[in-house]
Symmetry: C2
Subunit: 295 residues, 2 copies
């Protein structure tokens, strides 16, 4: 590789940098920036630089991004897949070549690489159970994009909670919504227009919950009395909205640190057996879902 | 350069990618992610890939990041400086070599490169004037890090408004706060403890305003009756906090697009005369600052 550092940089920095590429689907939600900071905190100490690319949830951009990083000869990749990614051939070929590659948050079960993920099933169960314990009887789930494994796992957790407490649900209680404020708003608007109003909603993330909240308030309904609302992913602003939003904290920084450590392990030993680290969360109950005071 | 694409990638993508490096100081605030999306929207269409690095507001990391991008032979750089960056030697040497480099938002007047910036003076003046027109008499400015040019320009705009309306201010009305929720909270807490309470606050950004808001509410003071509050940079959640926050919209996406276009121009003509594009904003008045109903 033609390495010709600028003479001033050379004076300031003596050694050749090692690069790691991080591929994220988007970074408007604080989730990915927070994970990346965790990744950098581990890797910078070890002398690595972190090059980030974002796919805008587009598979073609993701693939070009990954190729661009590979061309630039990064020493390893940490990836969270775009919502469009279904063709895994390229990733499979990298893994077959023992290229150091780690997945986090959004992955695919057909890829035999190490990964760090969140226990979406369990925490979706807990947050759904919380609404049931608050007396909700008609609980909707505004799910993320359903072809994402994390969305499907959260749907499973939601269903499991309703089943456990003997609540029969219609198919339309689970509605594919997405991950952005406008999407939450739109789905809520549709329900209000059809007068099909739940008394509780488990949202896929905080943003969709913020959107639902805006629409609920605009229509003169009250939270939590008419509709109890929960988010997911604990963004920094859950305490500032009105009413404060119940959410599930995901250990984003830890997710990044573990992804970085798994990558360093793979770089040291290319024949390591793939590992899966599953992280736990915390349910933070706030006014948006608290119908029963003495819980 | 040793270019050896993976055969599957080669099949999927025929042409060699061109890379642009984007250097941001942080991306927890939505500001930088939004600018980057604007940059990508222009560059991806032109066949460029965008490699992003984030400096965590640290000069050493920033410099290593830039060197890492340069080593990886990006075809140009778009940079917003970290809050620590004072040594400009490296950037000056790149500019002297006619390396394509564009600055946005945070720059330094000693660098003779093209840049796209926001008219901080003017919009800080307008938002301060708005509070004066609402009847505020003791207006504080929670400023950003004072060695940033944008922070100093906003201080100038704030002072200009107070001068114009003949409001005499103490030195302590301008208090260096920063850019994060906790920083706004902390400065507000200090004022409440010292019982030195303003009737209006112009915050450097929305996050510091959210922090001040949290602290004001915690202490049983009301917004805007006791303290009228304004943010800056219009984050997506200003409408969702209680009360909704008055803020200044900065054209983040446009800032990114223009930065990308300036870079393409510089790549096409390395001897171009440096250009400065100054962008305007919009003041969005909401309940957090609206004391006078009939404004």
């Amino acid at each position: 590789m033609g390495y010709h550092p600028n003479p001033i940089a050379k004076k300031l920095i003596q050694k050749k940098t090692l690069n790691i590429g991080v591929v994220v689907p988007e970074f408007i939600n604080a989730f990915f920036p927070e994970v990346i900071i965790g990744i950098q905190d581990v890797l910078i100490k070890k002398g690595y630089q972190v090059l980030i690319v974002q796919s805008n949830e587009c598979f073609e951009t993701e693939l070009k991004n990954v190729q661009s990083l590979e061309e630039n000869m990064v020493d390893g990749l940490i990836i969270s897949l775009s919502r469009e990614t279904k063709n895994l051939d390229y990733y499979k070929s990298l893994i077959d070549q023992n290229y150091p590659i780690i997945f986090f948050n959004r992955y695919n079960e057909d890829l035999s690489a190490s990964k760090v993920i969140f226990d979406d099933f369990k925490w979706s169960f807990f947050v759904s159970e919380h609404l049931i314990k608050q007396g909700c009887k008609k609980i909707f789930h505004f799910s993320a994009y359903n072809h994402l494994l994390l969305a499907r796992n959260r749907i499973k957790g939601f269903k499991k909670a309703l089943d456990k407490y003997g609540i029969k649900y219609d198919k339309d209680w689970i509605t594919e919504t997405g991950l952005f404020v406008e999407e939450g708003e739109q789905v809520m608007q549709g329900l209000i227009e059809k007068d099909n109003i739940p008394d509780g909603i488990v949202c896929a993330n905080d943003k969709t919950a913020f959107g639902a909240m805006r629409e609920i308030k605009k229509n003169g309904l009250s939270i939590p009395t008419d509709i109890a609302l929960t988010g997911f992913s604990e963004s920094p602003l859950v305490e500032l909205v009105d009413p404060p939003l119940t959410s599930v904290i995901q250990p984003t920084h830890e997710m990044g640190e573990i992804a970085a450590k798994l990558l360093l392990k793979k770089i040291e030993n290319e024949h390591m057996t793939p590992e899966t680290v599953i992280l736990n969360g915390t349910l933070n109950v706030r006014a948006s879902s608290l119908k029963v005071k003495s819980q």
